[in-house]
C-alpha cells in the first residue's frame, strides 16, 4: 500500500513538473500537450464507447462542434475563442440528445454505422455552409489581442490548461464508474437485454452517457481550436478524428479509467515522431504504421494494454436506494 502511494505520488509530480523539467526542449513540451489533448477526446469517448459499450465512430461531430464554436465566436462576434468552450459544449449536448434518441436504439454494428453516417452528413453540410467558412474553414485571432485569447507561442500554458481539463474529465469518469450509473452502463455493455429485464432504464442511461461524452468531446475540440487557431471541415469533422479517439481508448483499454490516456501516450508520440522523421513524405506512412498497429492490437490484444495488468479489486457497490432499503426491511 505504502509503495503504491509513493508510486502514484511520483507519477503525479512528474506529470505536474513535466513541462518545467523540459523547459529547454519546447518540442517535448508540445508533445506532452498534444498527448493531453488527445487523451481528453479519447477519455470522453470512453464514457459511451468504453463503459457503455456503444461504439461510436462519429464523435467528430462533437469535436468539430466544439472547435467551430471556439473560432466562430471570434470570427462572427469578435469574442475570445475561449468563450466558445461552454457554447460548443452546450450545442454538442443538444445535438447528442437529438442524434442519440433514434441512434442509441440501434445495437452493435448498426449503431456504429449510423454514427458514421451522421458524422459524414454533418461534415458535408459544414463544408457547404458559408457562415462557417465552407470548405476553407475558419481562422482564429492572428495576434493575441488580450491574454483572454489564450494565444501563446509556448506550449507550457496549454499544457496546464489541458491537464486541468483532463483531470476534470477523469474525475467525473471515476465518480461515474463507482456510482449506480457506472454499474448500469457496464450491465448494458454486457447484455442490454439482461440489464433491461432487471429494471435498468437502459435507453435513458445510454443517452446520459452519450450526452456527457459529447459535451466533454466538444470541450476537447474547442481546446484544439484555441491552441491551433484554425479549423476546417476535415480537421474538425473528418472521420479520422472519430477513429483516433476510438483507437486510443481501445489500445490503452476501453472501459478503463486510464485506458485512453495510456493509448494517447503511445500513439501521439508515435505519430509525431514518424511525421518528423519521415518529413513531408511521411504523412501517408504515419497512417500506414498507425493502421498496422491497430490491426495488430485487434488481432493480438483485443482488450487493450491495461488488460494485461492483473485484475484489480472491483469498485465498491453503491449504497442501495432508500426504496430498496425499505423493501428489504
Amino acid at each position: 500500500m505504502m509503495h503504491r502511494r509513493l508510486m502514484y505520488g511520483t507519477v503525479a509530480a512528474l506529470v505536474l513538473l513535466y513541462p518545467v523539467l523540459l523547459s529547454s526542449a519546447p518540442v517535448y513540451q508540445r508533445l506532452g500537450t498534444l498527448v493531453l489533448l488527445a487523451a481528453i477526446g479519447a477519455s470522453a469517448w470512453n464514457l459511451v464507447g468504453g463503459y457503455a459499450g456503444q461504439v461510436s465512430v462519429g464523435h467528430a461531430v462533437f469535436f468539430g462542434t466544439g472547435a467551430y464554436a471556439a473560432i466562430a465566436v471570434y470570427t462572427q462576434f469578435g469574442l475570445p475563442p475561449i468563450v466558445g468552450v461552454p457554447v460548443g459544449a452546450l450545442i454538442a449536448v443538444v445535438i447528442a440528445a437529438l442524434i442519440g434518441v433514434p441512434t442509441l436504439r440501434l445495437s452493435g454494428h448498426y449503431f456504429s454505422m449510423a454514427t458514421i453516417a451522421v458524422a459524414e452528413l454533418v461534415r458535408v453540410l459544414i463544408s457547404n455552409w458559408e457562415w462557417v467558412g465552407g470548405a476553407q474553414g475558419l481562422s482564429g485571432p492572428a495576434v493575441s489581442r488580450t491574454v483572454l485569447d489564450l494565444s501563446f507561442t509556448s506550449a507550457l500554458p496549454y499544457y496546464y490548461i489541458f491537464l486541468a481539463v483532463l483531470a476534470a474529465v477523469l474525475l467525473v469518469t471515476w465518480r461515474i464508474e463507482r456510482s449506480r450509473m457506472g454499474f448500469y452502463l457496464r450491465a448494458i455493455k454486457d447484455s442490454e437485454r439482461a440489464a433491461r429485464s432487471l429494471g435498468v432504464a437502459a435507453g435513458r442511461y445510454k443517452l446520459y452517457a452519450y450526452m456527457l461524452s459529447a459535451g466533454f468531446t466538444a470541450v476537447g475540440g474547442s481546446l484544439y481550436a484555441v491552441m491551433f487557431g484554425f479549423v476546417d471541415p476535415e480537421s474538425g469533422f473528418g472521420i479520422l478524428i472519430s477513429v483516433k479517439m476510438l483507437i486510443m481508448a481501445a489500445l490503452g483499454g476501453s472501459g478503463l479509467l486510464f485506458g485512453p490516456l495510456i493509448g494517447a501516450l503511445i500513439l501521439v508520440p508515435l505519430e509525431e515522431i514518424s511525421n518528423s522523421l519521415l518529413g513531408g513524405k511521411g504523412a501517408g506512412l504515419t497512417f500506414v504504421v498507425y493502421g498496422a498497429i491497430i490491426v495488430l492490437i485487434a488481432r493480438f490484444l483485443p482488450s487493450g494494454i491495461l488488460a494485461l495488468l492483473p485484475a484489480r479489486r472491483p469498485p465498491p457497490k453503491p449504497k442501495p436506494l432508500a426504496a430498496e432499503r425499505a423493501h428489504a426491511a
Partner: protein
C-alpha cells in the same frame, strides 16, 4: 428537359449496377459471418488503382484490368480472412471494428504514400465514343460498367442460390456447427465467401475506374455508398443490394441534377440515416 431527366435516370441506373456489385461483396460477408468490413471501400480503391496500373504499365484496357483486379482482390480477401478476420470475428465488437478499420487505414495510406494524393483518371476514350440512342447520350465506359456490373451481380446471386457451393455457404451462415457436422468446413466456406466478395469488389473497382476519378481516399466515399446500399437492400441480401444499388444510382443522379452536385451526398447520407433509424433491417429486409 424530359429527355435530360431520362438521360440522368439511365446514367444513374448504369452507375447503380456497379454500386450493386460492390455492395454485394459487403452484404455477402455481413450476412455470412456478421462482420462488417470497414475496409471494403479501400478494396474498391485498390481495384481502381489496379485498373490504372494495368493501363499505364501494361497498356491494357478494362478487358485486361477486370480479371486481373478480380484475382488480386480475391487473394487479398482470402489473406485478410486467414490473417485477420478469422481471429477477430469471435472477439468483442470493438476489436472487429478496429481490425477492419486498421486494415482500411493501412491500405488507404499505403496507396497515398505510393501513388500520391493526386486524382488519377483513365482516358475518356478508353472504350470508344459515346453512344447516342434516341437522343440520349450514353458514355461507353458507363454502359460497359453498368452491363457487366449487372451481369456479375446476377451471376453471384445464382452462384449463391443455385449451386452446391452456395448451399454449403448458406448452411455455414445459418449454423456453422451444424454445417460442420454435415461435413462442411466452415473456415473453408468463409474463405470462399471472402474470395467471392473481394473478387466481385475487384471487378466493380476496375469497372468504375473507367469513368470515376481514382484517389487514395475515394474508398471512404464509396464505402459509404456501399453501406447505404446494404442498409437499403437488407443485410445479407444480394438481390436487395441490386435493387438498392440501382435506386441509389438514380437518387444520386436526380438530386445532383435538381438540387446541385454538391448535395447528392447529403441526400444519400440523409436517406441512409433515416433508413437506419426507422428500418434497421433494410427497406426490403424482413422485420
Amino acid at each position: 428537359m424530359s429527355l435530360i431527366v431520362v438521360q440522368v435516370i439511365v446514367s444513374g441506373l448504369l452507375i447503380g449496377a456497379v454500386y450493386a456489385l460492390f455492395a454485394s461483396g459487403l452484404t455477402l460477408i455481413w450476412g455470412m459471418m456478421n462482420v462488417i468490413n470497414f475496409a471494403h471501400g479501400d478494396f474498391v480503391m485498390l481495384a481502381m488503382y489496379t485498373a490504372f496500373m494495368v493501363w499505364t504499365v501494361l497498356g491494357g484496357g478494362p478487358a485486361a484490368a477486370v480479371p486481373i483486379a478480380a484475382v488480386l482482390l480475391a487473394t487479398l480477401g482470402v489473406l485478410s480472412y486467414f490473417l485477420l478476420v478469422r481471429h477477430i470475428m469471435k472477439g468483442p465488437m470493438l476489436a472487429q471494428i478496429l481490425g477492419t478499420f486498421g486494415l482500411a487505414l493501412l491500405l488507404r495510406y499505403s496507396a497515398f504514400w505510393y501513388f500520391g494524393a493526386n486524382f488519377k483518371t483513365l482516358p475518356d476514350t478508353i472504350l470508344g465514343a459515346p453512344l447516342v440512342i434516341g437522343g440520349i447520350r450514353i458514355d461507353a465506359p458507363r454502359l460497359v460498367a453498368g452491363s457487366v456490373g449487372l451481369l456479375v451481380t446476377l451471376l453471384l446471386h445464382l452462384l449463391l442460390t443455385r449451386s452446391a457451393l452456395g448451399s454449403r455457404m448458406l448452411a455455414v451462415a445459418e449454423d456453422a456447427t451444424a454445417a460442420q457436422l454435415m461435413g462442411i468446413r466452415p473456415e473453408r466456406m468463409q474463405a470462399v465467401a471472402w474470395a467471392l466478395a473481394a473478387g466481385s469488389t475487384g471487378i466493380a473497382g476496375a469497372l468504375i475506374a473507367t469513368f470515376f476519378y481514382t484517389s487514395p481516399t475515394v474508398g471512404e466515399t464509396l464505402a459509404i455508398v456501399a453501406f447505404v446500399t446494404v442498409a437499403f437492400g437488407g443485410f445479407g441480401s444480394v438481390p436487395g443490394a441490386l435493387v438498392a444499388g440501382l435506386l441509389i444510382g438514380v437518387i444520386e443522379g436526380l438530386s445532383a441534377f435538381f438540387i446541385g452536385p454538391v448535395y447528392k451526398d447529403v441526400v444519400v447520407y440523409l436517406l441512409f440515416v433515416l433508413v437506419l433509424w426507422t428500418r434497421p433491417q433494410g427497406l426490403m429486409g424482413k422485420a
